[in-house]
Symmetry: C2
Subunit: 220 residues, 2 copies
Amino acid sequence: MKEHRNISIADQIFEQLEKDILSGRYQRGEVLSELRLSKEMNVSRTPIREALLRLAQENILQESGRGMVVIGISNDDMLDMYDIRLHLEGEVARRAARNITEEQLSQLYELTDLQRFYINKQGNGSSEHTKNLDSQFHELLYTASGSKSYTDVLVRIHKKMTKYRIASISKQSRALQSNEEHMAICEALASHDTDRAEQAVLAHVRNAMNRMEHLEPIDG
Amino acid sequence: MKEHRNISIADQIFEQLEKDILSGRYQRGEVLSELRLSKEMNVSRTPIREALLRLAQENILQESGRGMVVIGISNDDMLDMYDIRLHLEGEVARRAARNITEEQLSQLYELTDLQRFYINKQGNGSSEHTKNLDSQFHELLYTASGSKSYTDVLVRIHKKMTKYRIASISKQSRALQSNEEHMAICEALASHDTDRAEQAVLAHVRNAMNRMEHLEPIDG
DNA sequence: AACCGTATGATTGTATACAATTGTAGCGTT
DNA sequence: AACGCTACAATTGTATACAATCATACGGTT
């Protein structure tokens, strides 16, 4: 633990734990002890503790007197998050159609093209790339709306969704469909047609929700 | 710093800094140094650092290479938060009208009565009480919806709003009007009429937004 | 005078030491 | 056997020590 790079150990631990919790590796109700984790990961308590604090701030963990208790998210929580997106992303799309810059627009197109490339490639780790590009696309869309508050809420939600168990994007056919919807959003934004942008984004969210609902729940 | 109580120093510092930032005491762009704050507050760097990390997780601070930079929130951010609430709280109200328990309902009534008492009292620190009861009312309303995701988003937003500069509730006449709207929400929920609950909550948010818009902005 | 290198100070990131609390197991007493 | 007390183990909260990085200022050299 001697190297001092740009990305801190605490950040890595945060990402790792967040993924492990949201993907279901840690069960709801499980208690995470700082000392145990620090031994498991061969670091001191400090970065562990910082990661746990941030996760608690996200309501992914709950500090409960003795140790941090895993809360995680359920299928119902996921459905509610889609519901929230349906209530918010229409407005975001309208604002983005009005405010998006040429540079942001070309970036969105590029992300979409690159994502299609990786989906068709289907190589090792391409699914990871695909998910990453999906996150970047949506984050940029939110940013293009020009609203910090909307972006804050939706980025938080989207981040949780992509780490939930197996992302619905993993099947190639569904990934391609999602990618086509991204392209439709790009074109709607390029036309600066607020109604069209709203419809394109809402259709995408609705379809994503349906793609997820058809996955089997893992536990009861 | 020897006492070990239930509420940690780090928590107190977090609350204090959050209030100081959102109320405008720290300017946007200002850099907060751990060492400086720890000297100012006569504690070690550890609790300061933990508070800063949590504030960064809330996007109230931004960690930018050298120290934490204050982001804070602007009037536009506030308006967007009201806009988000208008898009979400109608649905929350509908769900609460369906799911609220008798106990939650009587608690809501009690909070409303107590708030009216403090507003009329107008004693020293009664404004603090009033704001606190307002937060409790809305948090309970969100919880009554039964949705963790909705509650998470809205509690976060509401918390920020109440700490923004001077809350719009500070004038007695406005506080009384807000309190009457709370009572209307209670009665709508008691009737379990989803449409009526939605209308009551949305009217309350709209009125709160108008009450805020009429306040003067402090800086340009 | 200009330029380059080094030392120094400020700051964050990590590890460790210490204090306090809490739960529990075990033992003794009745 | 039941109850209570004590001691210990586990755990968090805080302070401090140490390492690494970065900016800056200062001094020497050409």
